[in-house]
Structures are given as C-alpha cells and as structure tokens.
C-alpha cells in the first residue's frame, strides 16, 4: 500500500552553546507509515524520538531531508494531525470541555456543535462527568486522557503520540494502553507512537521501529492478533522471542543498517493462547 507518511533522509542537529559543538540528533532518517498503521518508535531516552515526532508535525524544521504527508511536502500546517504531548500541555485556565474543544474552536466550529463533539470524546476516554473540571483537579492519568481526547476530537487522519503514558503509574498506564488499543481499533487512525517501553510497543504496534542514537532504524512487524489484552502473553513463545529480539536490537542500536524482521509466523501460535493476563501486565516484569 502507498505510504501516508514518508520521511526521506531527515537530519537534525542542535547547537550546544555550552560546548560549542553540534549534537547530531537525527541522521538520514527514512521512515514510511502506511494508512491505518500503528507504528511505535522505540528507543532509549535522548535518541531523538521527540525531535522526529515534532518534525512530523512541522513543529521542528529538519536541517536536511523532507517529510511527505499523503505525497505532499509538509510545508503548510496541515489540519488533520493530532498531537499528544509527553507533558500533556493542557491549558490550566480551560475546563476539560474547553481543552478538548480547543482544536475545533480554532477551526471556528460553533459553540454548541463543538461542545457536543467534545463531550463525545470526553466520554470515549472515560471522563464522563468531568467535563467541567479544571486540569489541576484531575490526576495525571486523567489529564493524559484529556490530552488524548483533545487530539482525537479533531478527527485526525494522523495521530502523533509522544510517550503519553510515560509519566503515569504502572497500573494506570496499563489501563490507558488497553483503552488506546480499543479506541484505535474503532477509529483506525494512522498512529505514530513514541515510547521507550518494549512491552508497550509490542502491545500496541503493528510495526515497531527501533531507534538508536541519531541512527537510521530497524523495523519489526508485530503480527500478534488483536485485540491483544486478553491473552496470556507470558506463556506465548512468539511474544517472548519478539521481546528478546527487541531488547537485543536496542542494546546494539548503533547498528546503522535498516532491516525488516518479519514475524509472520507469530499469528498461528498465538491464536489459541489462554486469557489470563494481559500483555501489558507481563510488561512490568522486564524494565
């Protein structure tokens, strides 16, 4: 299938004023994301994941290379990209409703209409009844749900998510992962999801792109069937193999060559696994 997002030879360096040297954060990155695909960018912290994601939304201009969205260069700010920030970035002076409706209001949607839409998404992320709360009255996990609802409310073709569950506790994170998977299966938006958590990536992704320091990447397909939250992942050999493989790739992340490791065989063995623990639950064991 034709790629919806195409990153071609993107490089980015930051000047470090203290040392006077340049820090190369991204070097010749190529990446393709197909429509309706859920791609996880997996890499250690500081490897340039946020920078790459912001380049995808033209928030940062790359030094070299280009990003195509639907075959067109990403020069203009395109309207149908939703962004979920690592630090949420809610507007403290707006209620949940006002925050979720932000993107719609910016497009000039009339009040009643945008509030109806916003309430729908508030309900979708499980915050019904909290529409008139201010962000400081919500827990971290709830704030992140608002961030997600705000991004979803503009019905984006592309959803960019930057470690959205990085700052919440393990239990909440697991719940949020399950709900994100559920929401995504309904909307089928194209998602680029940044994480440094191997199990989170395996649980959510169709394809995992492993990033090393400033390096081009290896891409791993995750062929485990969906929905994934009611399988016994620990007893699933394919899952374990994938996990070991990913961790090894992270450890040797300096390898420049990009290769695709297909896991087509996974589907068959996974299909009749029992439903005791969620994939996410197993996730906590390793990190």
């Amino acid at each position: 299938m034709e790629a919806l997002i195409e990153v071609k030879g993107v490089s980015k360096a930051y000047a470090n004023y203290a040392t006077g040297r340049e820090l190369v954060v991204l070097r010749d990155i190529d990446l393709q994301v197909r429509p309706n695909e859920f791609v996880c960018l997996l890499g250690p912290s500081g490897c340039g994941k946020t920078t790459l994601l912001k380049i995808l939304d033209a928030m940062i201009t790359p030094d070299r290379g280009e990003v195509l969205l639907g075959g067109r260069p990403l020069i203009e700010r395109l309207a149908d990209i939703g962004f979920v920030f690592q630090d949420v970035g809610l507007l403290a002076w707006r209620t949940v409703l006002g925050n979720v409706a932000l993107g719609l209001e910016a497009r000039g949607m009339p009040r009643r209409q945008r509030e109806t839409v916003a309430l729908e998404y508030i309900k979708l992320v499980g915050l019904e009844g909290f529409a008139h709360y201010y962000p400081h009255q919500l827990s971290g996990g709830m704030q992140q749900r608002v961030g997600l609802a705000r991004a979803l409310a503009i019905s984006p073709k592309v959803l960019l998510m930057d470690e959205p569950f990085g700052a919440v506790d393990a239990m909440t994170r697991q719940t949020l992962q399950v709900e994100l998977a559920r929401i995504w299966e309904q909307s089928r938006a194209t998602v680029v999801f940044v994480t440094h958590d191997v199990d989170e990536a395996i649980f959510l992704a169709d394809r995992i792109v492993v990033m090393g320091r400033a390096q081009a990447t290896r891409s791993v397909n995750v062929a485990l069937p969906r929905p994934r939250w009611n399988r016994d992942a620990q007893s699933d050999p394919e899952y374990v193999a994938l996990r070991v493989n990913l961790i090894r790739m992270l450890n040797t992340a300096h390898a420049a060559a990009a290769a695709t490791v297909a896991h087509a065989a996974a589907a068959a063995t996974v299909a009749h696994a029992a439903a005791a623990a969620t994939v996410a639950q197993t996730a906590k064991g390793g990190e």
């Binding site: 912001k54 939304d57 033209a58 928030m59 700010r77 309207a79 990209i81 939703g82 962004f83 920030f85 630090d87 970035g89 507007l91 403290a92 002076w93 707006r94 932000l102 993107g103 209001e105 910016a106 497009r107 201010y134 962000p135 400081h136 009255q137 705000r150 503009i154």
Partner: protein, 286 residues
C-alpha cells in the same frame, strides 16, 4: 491588607514541617492552625489597641495642631461624615482612581502583549518605557495641566500614566516566559496568532499580569493623591491638603487614614475579582 492567607502560610509551614519529628514537643503548644489564627488576628488587634492607647496618653498634653489625640481624630471623622464631606471625597477619589487604573490596564496590557510578542516592537518602545519609568510623575503635573486644564481628565491621565508601566512590563514578561510546551500546543492545534494570544499567551501570563496589576494599583492610588493635591484640590488628596493648610490636623489625619482605608479597600476588591474570575490560579501556583 487582606493577606491573612499568606501570613497563615508563612506561620504554618515551618511548624507543620517540624512536628513529625516530635509530637510530644508539639502537644502542649497551640496547634499550627490555632497559633496562626492567634498570630494573624489577635496580635494585630492588640498591637493597634496598644498603639492607640499610647497615642492617647502621649498626645494628651500636646498642642492638638501638632498632634491631636485619637479622640479628637474620632470627632473629626464624625464631623466630616455628618457633613458628607468624607463620602464625597471618597467617591471622587474612587472615580479618579478607577478611570485612570482601567485606562492603565487597557493600555498597559496591549502594550505588554505587543512588546512581549514582537522583538522589534520591544526595541522600539523600550527607551520610552525607561524614560517614563524614571520620570517623577509629579514633574509632569504642569504639562498635564497645560494639556487638560484643571479637570478630572487631568487627574485620570496622571493616575493612568503613573500606573501603566508595571502592567505593561509584567504582561510582556509573562508572555515572554511562555513555555515551549504551550507554544507547541498552539502550533499543533493550529491556533492563529490572535487565537494564540487570547487563548494561550495572555491567560498563561495572568499570574504575572495580576502581580503587575497589584503594583499598578499602589501606583494608581499614589497618582490619584498627587493629582488631587497638586491640581484643583478635590477628593481625598485635596481634603488632606485643605485641612493641612488650615492647620486642622485632626481632620487631616482623618483624611490620611481614609486614604489608607481606601487603598486597602480597592486591593481587597482585586482579590475578590481574582478568585472570582481566575479560579484556576490557586491550583496552578500551589
């Protein structure tokens, strides 16, 4: 001033911080809440009462033109109120001050947004801001009279020009320190420049702006008193001036006290406005 809250915090924090170590030590003493209530309410009252007593006894045998007793000041108050002089002065002052203050807020915040948002504009106006900040406002009085004559406009103008700078400077600062994250949010959700200023930059600067408004309020009161004393004698400033010239010191002191009460009153009004319209500030600054 209406800062019971902050006094309570300052008093309460060290106490609660030390109590976990030894409950036995803390037990015979007042609990932090009782103690802070005692310190913040009773001690000031006792202090004022003691001061009034000392004043009464000290001034008993003094010339009332030099130092009238509190009882004399009290009867001056009664006299001023029964003739309606004080109320009228208070009302005129309130008008002079509020008009000038609101003009200062309107002009200052627009000026602040522009200087905070556009580097070039900042470079253009910063010499003038420095100039006016450094100029003693009282030196402008003759010029203002030339422009506006002996009128309320003159007084309002003087209040505004004295109060506008802290509003402008703080607004600009609040907008300039806007976080990278909020800039990115504005970008991600495709806000136009004007939407961004109204929905993100200005509200995020509100704590700074309020701090500026507080400073500006103090300056507005000063500007008001100066204007009323140095132009046509009117309002509270004029009242103080008139009775001073007539050596009616008790009335003069009554006017000064009323001016102070006036300042506390408008400052308390501002706290009410802040809590009413910006409920989220308490949550974020805490």
């Amino acid at each position: 001033m209406a800062n019971n809250d902050s006094t309570q915090e300052i008093v309460a924090t060290p106490l609660t911080a030390t109590t976990p170590a030894g409950k036995a030590v803390a037990a015979p003493r007042l609990s932090p809440r009782e103690e802070s209530w005692f310190v913040s309410v009773r001690v000031p009252i006792i202090s004022v009462a003691a001061f009034l007593l000392l004043w009464q006894f000290g001034a008993r045998h003094m010339n009332p033109i030099l130092m009238p007793t509190p009882t004399l000041v009290g009867s001056a108050f009664r006299d001023l109120i029964s003739r309606g002089v004080l109320q009228k002065a208070f009302f005129i002052s309130l008008q002079d001050m509020s008009y000038g203050y609101f003009i200062a807020i309107a002009v200052g915040s627009v000026l602040g947004v522009l200087t905070g948002r556009f580097r070039t504009f900042e470079k253009v106006v910063s010499p003038y801001i420095s100039f006016f900040m450094a100029t003693p406002t009282i030196a402008l009085v003759p010029l203002v009279i030339v422009w506006f004559g002996f009128s309320q406009s003159s007084r309002v103008f003087l209040v505004a020009i004295h109060a506008v700078w802290p509003v402008a400077i703080n607004t600009a600062m609040g907008i300039r320190v806007l976080s990278r994250l909020l800039r990115d949010v504005g970008w991600a959700y495709r806000l136009t420049e004007s939407q961004f200023v109204r929905w993100v930059a200005l509200p995020s600067a509100v704590p700074y702006i309020l701090a500026g408004l507080r400073v500006a309020l103090g300056r507005a009161v000063v500007g008001m008193i100066v204007a009323e004393m140095t132009m046509e004698l009117t309002g509270l400033g004029g009242l103080v001036m008139v009775y001073g010239n007539a050596f009616k010191t008790a009335h003069l002191i009554a006017g000064v006290i009323t001016s102070a009460v006036f300042a506390v009153f408008v400052s308390a009004m501002m706290d009410v406005v802040r809590d009413r319209f910006f409920p989220w500030i308490k949550g974020t600054s805490a």
